[in-house]
């Protein structure tokens, strides 16, 4: 019996070995097979945010167009965690064969490092940024019940106001803290878990003011349930032409969210060219354009090199501003 057992086990083992030898037909583990042709199969676009959020929707809109252009499937995979750091580091460590891409949020590079310890901060060094996609602006809104109409009302309010943000280490927090520090306004900052509860809290006058992303606030601004105060983009936003920018109001707060697509560092020229061309095709489609319009996104389709320079500059700028006004994003 014992003998038979071992023989059977041996047989099973050798069968398993044979199976192993036969691999390399479509598996997705281990180092990618270095085939000369790009793309050699489906390309995965990893998103560091949960499904359904604006980042995820942007990834899916871009992936649709890119898949058509490249002629391969381009599934979007969500790996939420640590504001996208998890997904970004994972993709950065993959083989640079162009089969794995990641959708980047600028805030991960420019703002998150201000709130977390140094070893957690993510940099662009391990990535080849392919192309920028769009810009998503923040808008400060006030509750109708508070009667606040513009930033001067906030500045001159004799009541102590509370200010909602979409969370610690976000553009919403940075922008709001900067403008409040520059205007010397005393207030209580109340962090919420994301944009939607921060907005709801303003609608119910639970907090008097919140800074949220424009796409989220627009329906409520249109319905008149919240009052827009300022937008934080460098120039007036095309979707809210009547609302002044913070810069016009006299404050230096150039905070927006930007998004771009990147690949692990060391991409071959051929793969890079094909990928960039496919993104260009994707953003040129009508479907993508109307998606941008519907979600209040301003196209910002710049080259990967420009993205890298711009984001690094922004990171330095934010660092300088927070130091100047001694703002700490990581609480008291």
């Amino acid at each position: 019996m014992k003998n038979r057992l071992t023989r059977r086990s041996l047989l099973a083992l050798s069968a398993a070995g044979a199976v192993l030898a036969l691999s390399a037909c479509g598996g997705n583990v281990g180092g990618g097979s270095a085939s000369a042709e790009f793309p050699s199969g489906p390309i995965t676009l990893t998103v560091g945010q949960a499904p359904g959020g604006s980042t995820d929707l942007i990834a899916r809109a871009a992936a649709d167009g890119m898949a058509d252009s490249l002629g391969v499937a381009l599934p979007v995979v969500n790996k939420p965690g640590a504001n996208g750091a998890l997904a970004t580091e994972e993709v950065a460590a993959m083989a640079p064969d162009g089969q794995n891409l990641v959708l980047l949020n600028a805030s991960l590079i420019t703002i998150t490092p201000l709130a977390v310890s140094e070893e957690e901060a993510v940099s662009l060094d391990d990535l080849d940024v392919l192309m920028g996609l769009s810009q998503d602006d923040y808008v400060m809104v006030a509750s109708t019940k508070s009667g606040l109409k513009n930033f001067d009302d906030i500045k001159n309010s004799d009541k102590k106001l509370s200010f909602g943000t979409t969370g610690v280490g976000t553009g919403s927090q940075l922008a709001q803290e900067l403008i409040l520090a520059q205007a010397d306004v005393e207030g209580t900052t109340v962090p919420f878990d994301s944009g939607s509860p921060a907005l709801t809290a303003v609608m119910g006058d639970q907090v008097q003011v919140s800074t949220v992303q424009l796409g989220e606030a627009k329906p409520q601004i249109d319905a008149g349930t919240v009052t827009p105060i300022v937008v934080f983009s460098a120039e007036r936003n095309e979707f809210l032409p009547d609302v002044p920018t913070a810069i016009e109001a006299g404050y230096e707060v150039p905070v927006s969210q930007y998004r771009a697509i990147a690949a692990p560092k060391g991409l071959s020229d051929d793969a890079k060219q094909k990928l960039v061309a496919s993104i260009k095709d994707a953003v040129a489609t009508d479907a993508y354009k109307s998606f941008n319009e519907k979600n209040m996104l301003t196209p910002n389709e710049i080259s990967g090199e420009e993205v890298t320079t711009e984001w690094n500059e922004l990171a330095a700028k934010y660092k300088e501003l927070t130091d100047e006004y001694s703002i700490s994003l990581a609480g008291k």
Partner: protein, 509 residues
């Protein structure tokens, strides 16, 4: 017409043949997976989520409703036939349901459960139709203090109304609250208990916890208990209960519907609490309470009605306040987000079509469940006849691969296995996983709103009592907390007078 217009429009969408087909598919697959031992509704829905990715949003939501009802009923089938409740809310069904099966009345038990679920579910949807807009209308008055009070109440209910030792339930709940603090603190940005692991920076996802404690924990436990395993009956007949049975159960179904509906609105596992409460109520109102635990049909009909009514009405806090009341709702919450629907106060006014689509799809899911469960029970009994030795690894693989697909994370799969071991050990040492999971779900809600309240109220806790909604909720909280003491005092008093009465009667005789 203002109110009913959108409601009726919703029906048009739902009755589209494609949508009906997907709903049917959802019910059948939901039951199919839900019937596997160890997989409750939360795990089942989580596993089947990828099925809904590729279809149109409205269709996907309708399919989800089907999966939801199917999965709920799947848990009932194993409770009755195998003494294996799929989730906490079916635990009480085991008491009388399994005894009924032993007595050869499995068909009657399953049939009455299906009918009760249908009636309870339908009544709850009607209630939801009228109550949801009402709740949504004052949802804006829900600030941090109100959410704090609501979460506190939910956790208290979970800890005090669970079946076993109260102290152990509180310990489990405290561990759940602690696990919820893992990850980046939303107020200071400090990393809490992550030990430098980036996968933990956003905290532990509740799905691996639920799948591990309930799913893998149960699978591991069954490996050990296999020698005691119960085999399903060969054949289940008479699924449509006799008139006498229906008559006997009708009171329980009626009471269960109302009880379930109201308890379901509360956060913190409405379905579980209401099934327990319904069982207690039936036992109390019965002429002969001693029949309970020995195959009383009310003991199946009441809790099964109540848990379905509660499962349905727990959509109210989800759709109007954006609060998932229990683990299953939390998964539905995630599923709706994937479909681009953000449940919350704005949903009903911004997107009435979608809102009523979601609500009306529940009617259809519920009706299909009733229609499908009766012919399909035979099929499910056959699945349960498959030898446990073959079923167990299948269940384990479904759980592991399902856990991977939710966030495409191997780390989550590891967590599922680890929490599986914890779940097994908890079971061996007499701790219930239910309070842990639910406290975990409500934990971050409670902590962040408590701290947010302190910020808004500027550190003055009396602010909780000057706001009408939070004050009311806190009064209820105190009442629930001290009620067991009052009750035991009353019981003691009653027992004494009854004893006196008995003695008197004896003397008279």
């Amino acid at each position: 017409m203002d109110f009913f217009g959108p409601v009726l429009d919703g029906f048009g969408t739902v009755l589209d043949p494609t949508n009906l087909l997907y709903c049917l598919l959802g019910v059948v697959i939901g039951m199919l997976i839900g019937v596997l031992p160890g997989l409750g509704p939360a795990a089942t829905i989580a596993i089947l989520l990828p099925l809904t990715y590729g279809v149109e949003p409205v269709t996907a939501i309708i399919m989800l409703a089907g999966i939801f009802y199917g999965a709920q009923y799947g848990g009932t089938i194993t409770s009755v036939l195998l003494r294996l409740p799929g989730e906490a809310s079916s635990v009480v069904t085991v008491f009388d349901g399994y005894v009924m099966a032993k007595q050869g009345r499995a068909g009657t038990a399953l049939g009455i459960a299906a009918i009760g679920s249908f009636i309870g579910g339908t009544i709850a949807i009607v209630g939801l139709t009228f109550l949801a807009p009402l709740v949504a209308s004052f949802a804006l008055d829900f600030g941090p203090p109100e959410y704090t009070a609501l979460a506190l109440l939910g956790i208290l209910l979970v800890a005090t109304i669970s079946g076993g030792s109260k102290i152990k339930a509180i310990i489990a709940a405290a561990v759940g609250l602690f696990l919820a603090t893992v990850g980046r603190d939303g107020f200071t940005g400090a990393e809490r208990f992550t030990f430098g692991n980036l996968s933990l920076a956003d905290g532990i996802d509740f799905v691996p916890i639920a799948m591990g404690l309930f799913g893998v924990g149960e699978i591991l436990y069954n490996l050990e208990e296999r020698h005691r395993a119960v085999s399903a009956p060969l054949k289940v007949a008479n699924v449509w209960p006799a008139g006498k049975d229906i008559k006997q159960a009708s009171g329980a179904i009626g009471r269960g519907s109302v009880l379930g509906f109201f308890l379901g609105i509360l956060p913190g596992g409405g379905a579980t609490i209401s099934s327990l409460a319904s069982y207690a109520l039936e036992k109390k109102t019965a002429k002969d309470p001693s029949r309970f635990g020995k195959g009383a049909i009310e003991g199946v009909a009441g809790p099964e009605t109540a848990n379905n009514a509660a499962a349905t009405s727990s959509f109210i806090p989800l759709l109007t306040l954006g609060i998932p009341a229990n683990a299953t709702m939390a998964i539905i919450f995630g599923a709706l987000l994937i479909q681009g629907v953000t449940p919350g106060p704005q949903l009903i006014s911004n997107d009435p079509e979608l809102f009523w689509g979601v609500v009306n799809s529940m009617y259809i899911g519920n009706i299909l469940l009733l229609i499908m469960s009766i012919p399909l029970i035979g099929v499910f009994v056959r699945i349960l006849r498959i030898r446990a030795a073959i079923l167990a690894p299948i269940t384990a693989l479904i759980t592991l691969l399902g856990a991977y697909t939710i966030r495409n994370s191997m780390f989550d799969v590891m967590l599922v296995v680890m929490f599986g071991a914890v779940g097994y050990l908890m079971k061996k040492f007499g701790f219930e996983p239910g309070p842990l999971v639910l406290a975990f779900v409500l934990g971050s809600l409670l902590e962040s709103n408590l701290r947010r309240s302190l910020l808004v109220l500027e550190g003055d806790p009396s602010g909780f009592l000057t706001r009408p909604i939070s004050a009311t909720l806190l009064v209820v909280f105190v009442f629930v907390a001290v009620w067991p003491m009052i009750k035991s005092a009353i019981d003691q008093h009653k027992n004494r007078s009854m004893a006196v009465q008995a003695v008197n009667e004896k003397e008279n005789a």
